[in-house]
Subunit: 156 residues, 2 copies
């Protein structure tokens, strides 16, 4: 075991990520964004959640640069706002796919998954996997270890 | 765009996964479990969170089969309980690594990541990646699409 208690978790990247997306509705908003939803009314319809909750979650994601507001205007209508994934937001996708596949494996309906993520280029289904920089793929938790990184803070 | 509004999200695996782990402290408890922490006092020390909150999170994870309680007894002491990751819990590890690497990229200290996950077999750093069943690796969100799976529920 990594000597957990010699290092602070204050600057842990898991913690910092969860400060942005560590809330159930935030991930569900992102799910809809990855599915192509961009407008407030469509998020509200897809999620069936309270509008003030949705507003807060969208504002948090914009504040952290995960979504950005983009104006649009339909003919004869006033300008309105859409929400688009930024590059930072697109990079969260492996988290969502990993959450989905765990649910698919442990809690899907008997009929199977509700959604399949596939590779646009070839049509084959996509999985979130762990791979090392030396090219070993499909690693399990048990194949890995952790060590303090360059930013590790020693406990006083 | 996948025609989002023809299908229900009721049986979405992301939602079901978040019913188990969609809460910031739950992921932080799991972080410590992956780091090798097993005892209540050690979780409390590592996380610095309220003990009743920790108790609830551990109970939820046990209830869903992510952790299991294991009795242990130190010489001359009464029997106590440790928390061990189950196979179901170990399979959540890609989610944690994906959360961590996003935080490493977008919010780490200037010095770098606090923690490095590496492959025990070869020492190389580990990444969470998306790969398709036909062998295409390192896929980005933009390289993928979604389609209804066998369990998709049509909207009435």
């Amino acid at each position: 075991m990594f000597d957990r208690f010699r290092y602070s978790a204050e600057n842990c990247s898991v913690h910092r990520t969860l400060d942005v997306v560590g809330e159930k509705w935030t991930f569900l908003v992102l799910r809809e964004a990855y599915f192509g939803v961009r407008r407030f009314e469509d998020f509200a319809h897809a999620l069936g959640c309270a509008r003030n909750l949705l507003s807060r979650r969208l504002a948090t994601l914009v504040e952290h640069g995960v979504l950005r507001r983009e104006p649009y205007r339909e003919p004869g209508m006033r300008e309105r706002i859409e929400y688009a994934l930024t590059p930072k937001g697109l990079e969260l996708y492996p988290v969502l796919v990993a959450l989905m596949q765990w649910g698919d494996r442990w809690s899907a309906d008997r009929a199977g998954p509700a959604i399949v993520v596939y590779h646009h280029g070839c049509g084959a289904p996509v999985r979130a996997t762990l791979a090392c920089a030396a090219g070993h793929e499909g690693l399990a938790a048990q194949d890995t270890r952790v060590r303090p990184g360059p930013g590790a803070r020693r406990m006083p």
